[in-house]
């Protein structure tokens, strides 16, 4: 399947509601990741490992 908005070999994001939705979802995911990382650092003094 070929993307619809390809201009000069570059992928151009569709500027529509769906783009907004995808961006919002990304923001929500990032905010959740940040919140989780903050809580892990506060409670365990690290983000990825458990000592």
């Amino acid at each position: 399947m070929v993307p619809a908005n390809i201009r000069g070999g570059k992928v151009i994001a569709a500027n529509n509601i769906f783009t907004v939705l995808a961006g919002a979802a990304l923001l929500v995911v990032l905010a959740t990741v940040a919140f989780v990382a903050y809580k892990c650092y506060v409670q365990y003094d690290t983000i990825f490992t458990v000592r």
Partner: protein, 293 residues
């Protein structure tokens, strides 16, 4: 943008919107396991220290329990001994109880017999009391008779005392007469023989016969041992041991010739001293001196 992409974007958006709050809420409400771990570690450390303390206490308790066990074993052994002795005492007590029960049975029988005997004795006592009353009346009557008899005896005793007084007087008179008779008989060389005991005579003839006092010859013979003619005194060689006493008369004889009589005035054990009495001759040493011719 294809339709499928749009659908995926929409699904992704909704799923993100649904799941991310869930994750956020979960993380926000999740327990602090590190803190819990530290808490648990502290609790474990305290539990461990408590465990060690408990172990030490346990060892202490074990040692104490060992000592107490030993002491209790000693007490148990002593109690066993006491129990054995107590069992022996119990057996003895049971035997004693059996013996006592037998004795109680025997005593019960004895008491029954005693009660029966007591009843009999009671009846006998009643009869005896009745007899005693009769005896009292009889005693009163006898006492009256005794009083009368006593008065009669007092009268008789007064008579007897009068008779005894007269008898004493007669005995004194008899003694005086006996002395006179002795003096008379000694002059002729005789003495009174003790009378035979008088047996109560039954026949009238025997009652009428009164025995006369009998006499016998004294029969003392000695020799003249010393003569004091100036003092009219003669000593003979027999004395009180041979039966000589004062007042006796001795005949001094030389052969068949009568010399004279002497009257004894002093007597010793083996010698007597006399004075001249009837006669005119003078005695010599060696003449015979006898109470009888």
């Amino acid at each position: 943008m294809s339709t499928l992409t749009k659908i995926l974007v929409v699904l992704l958006t909704f799923s993100v919107i649904a799941l991310c709050p869930i994750v956020a809420v979960y993380v926000a409400t999740a327990d602090n396991y590190k803190q819990l771990d530290e808490t648990h570690k502290r609790a474990a450390a305290s539990e461990k220290s408590e465990k060690n303390e408990a172990k030490s206490q346990l060892s202490d308790y074990m040692t104490k329990s060992d000592t107490e066990k030993k002491s209790l074993n000693a007490q148990i052994s002593s109690l066993k001994q006491q129990m054995a002795s107590t069992e022996i005492e119990l057996k003895n007590a049971l035997r004693a109880k059996a013996d006592l029960e037998e004795r109680v049975k025997s005593w019960t029988a004895v008491v029954a017999d005693f009660t029966e005997t007591n009843d009999k004795q009671g009846t006998l006592l009643k009869n005896t009391l009745a007899e005693l009353d009769n005896s009292k009346t009889e005693q009163i009557r006898l006492k009256k008779e005794l009083d009368e008899t006593t008065a009669y005896l007092r009268e008789r005793l007064a008579i007897i005392s009068d008779i005894e007084r007269k008898s004493k007087e007669l005995i004194e008179q008899k003694t005086e007469l006996q002395k006179r008779l002795d003096n008379l008989l000694q002059g002729v060389g005789q003495k009174v023989v003790a009378p035979e005991p008088v047996i109560a005579a039954k026949s009238p003839v025997a009652k009428a016969f009164v025995p006369q006092p009998q006499v016998e010859e004294i029969g003392l013979v000695g020799l003249v041992s010393e003569v004091k003619a100036k003092d009219s005194m003669v000593a003979i060689n027999i004395g009180s041991v041979d039966g000589v006493h004062e007042g006796m008369k001795f005949h001094i004889i030389r052969g068949d010739e009568f010399i004279r009589d002497i009257l004894i005035i002093d007597v010793e054990e083996d010698e007597a001293l006399g004075v001249f009495d009837i006669g005119a001759g003078v005695p010599k040493v060696g003449d015979n001196a006898s109470t009888n011719f």
